[in-house]
């Protein structure tokens, strides 16, 4: 089978996993490349852009007179701007492809941990920066976690430590930056074909009813002795206890006695919301006047009608439809005229 995605290595044995972990840990403590100089010295225009965008009115950032009277003795940059002075800018990182950071990433990619999200930024400041300061950043891989699973997926937390030095090579601030390098959780598989409906539990006492349905007839059961009509089907007449019965063909119409609309739990065979109606089937002509003939109720689903048409008392037409190649069931179709009994 061809597949364009790179093969993901699966460390299926504890030994393989341990070897992978050990290889990962070998990167901890390594400096990821040459120290990176800030492209520009700390400067008022960049400070102004930032504090305007953030709406920060602290006068020590832009007002020379007030800043001079503060404990800072003059204009300083917002401390949280530390990272901004050494950002790559619009062209992005220019690092080569063979430093320790890239090699660590290749190792993580080889296990499928290709996605990334920043999780923690921890900055500490030795002093505030002033216009004219020129920074250099050094980055060290600080720690790599064992495999962790979060809401996003499974992967490894990777922490780097950025140390910022001034022109005198004095440390002015540090940042511990943690990312989660992960394999996203598998998305739900695309639209699988719906499984067929659950099968009815059939017995000697009801199999004939489904057989009749398969032949296109909606039936109830009547006592062959006293004529009482009953449904669901059963072995004995509740009135005279006779075991002999007749099949009674019922009209394909009725009235909604009650209904529910199922939302949950969802069974994959059905579409939701799923109306379930209890239908008072119109009395049979063959057993007119017999007890029970006007009390035949059946549970079924609806077809071809919006949920809004459901109403107690609504007239329905019943159709027998194939739900899959070897099963037919009755469905209620609500009368389009909206007539109620």
């Amino acid at each position: 089978m061809s597949n364009n995605a790179p093969t993901i290595i699966v460390d299926s044995t504890p030994e393989a996993k341990a070897a992978f972990y050990a290889e990962l840990q070998s990167f901890v403590g390594l400096e990821i490349g040459e120290p990176m100089p800030a492209p520009d010295e700390v400067n008022l225009p960049m400070i102004r852009h930032l504090v305007e965008a953030v709406g920060d009115r602290n006068p020590i950032y832009t007002d020379p007179e007030l800043a001079a009277r503060s404990i800072h003795g003059g204009i300083v940059a917002p401390p949280t701007m530390l990272q901004a002075w050494v950002m790559h800018g619009i062209d992005g990182p220019q690092r080569g492809g063979d430093g320790p950071y890239e090699k660590m990433n290749e190792l993580l990619f080889s296990r499928g941990f290709t996605s990334v999200v920043g999780t923690n930024s921890e900055q500490t400041y030795k002093r505030y920066l002033r216009p004219g300061d020129r920074l250099t950043m050094r980055t060290v891989i600080d720690s790599i976690s064992d495999e962790k699973t979060t809401g996003l997926g499974t992967g490894h937390f990777v922490s780097t430590r950025q140390d910022y030095y001034d022109a005198d090579n004095e440390l002015v601030g540090s940042m511990l930056f943690r990312i989660f390098r992960f394999q996203p959780k598998a998305k739900a598989p695309a639209a699988k074909p719906k499984p067929p409906r659950p099968r009815p539990a059939t017995t000697h006492d009801n199999q004939w009813w489904f057989d009749e349905l398969n032949d296109g007839r909606l039936c109830a059961q009547a006592c062959a002795e006293c004529g009482r009509v009953r449904f669901p089907t059963g072995p004995l007449c509740p009135s005279c206890h006779s075991r002999s019965y007749d099949k009674v063909e019922m009209p394909m119409s009725g009235t909604i006695h009650s209904f529910v609309v199922a939302h949950y739990p969802q069974v994959p065979s059905f579409d939701y919301p799923l109306p379930i109606v209890l239908v008072d089937i119109d009395p049979s002509t063959s057993h007119a006047g017999k007890p029970g003939n006007d009390k035949v109720r059946m549970i079924m689903n609806t077809a071809d009608c919006p949920e809004s048409a459901l109403a107690v008392g609504a007239r329905v037409r019943i159709e027998i439809r194939a739900t899959d190649p070897d099963m037919k069931l009755p469905f209620a179709i609500i009368d389009a005229t909206g007539a109620t009994s």
């Binding site: 930032l50 953030v54 920060d56 007030l66 990272q83 901004a84 921890e122 900055q123």
Partner: protein, 141 residues
């Protein structure tokens, strides 16, 4: 130019448990883009909605440097100009999308007499949940 420096809160006036008034930040598209660019962060997910969508994000999102900046601003707005922030530690959560509002709130969780340092827990929440949980240390006069 204003002529007086705003007051700065004194270390002696602060008690553990003190609440800082919450601050509501409307997350406009302009805010998210202008702060990203002002921090030299040109990652497309911070300014280009169509590419952000292609990469699986609902929209552009605020960048981390800006979350840091707001944690810092929130504390210095409360502390005043003669304060010194010694650390800002942020744990990130739900992204800040345009059109939402981030409410920043905070309270004093510790004070250290020796260094006059006040520790403040800062929380930024949006309609999705916690955007950030930050710990900011500030030295007061």
């Amino acid at each position: 130019m204003t002529s007086t420096l705003p007051d700065t809160r004194t270390f002696a006036s602060v008690t553990v448990g003190d609440e800082i008034a919450p601050f509501e930040l409307p997350l406009t598209r302009t805010l998210i883009v202008s702060t990203a660019i002002a921090t030299r962060d040109y990652q497309v997910v911070h300014h280009d909605p169509s590419i952000a969508a292609e990469r699986g994000s609902k929209d552009i999102i605020m960048n981390i440097l800006t979350s840091n900046a707001f944690a810092g601003r929130y504390v210095t707005d409360w502390a005043g100009p003669n304060s010194f922030i010694s650390s800002v530690k942020v744990r990130l959560g739900a992204p800040n999308y345009p059109g939402d509002t981030m409410t920043i709130s905070g309270s004093v969780t510790a004070t250290d007499d020796a260094t006059r340092t006040v520790t403040i827990a800062v929380k930024g929440t949006n309609s999705l949940g916690d955007h950030m949980n930050a710990t900011v240390e500030v030295v007061l006069p």
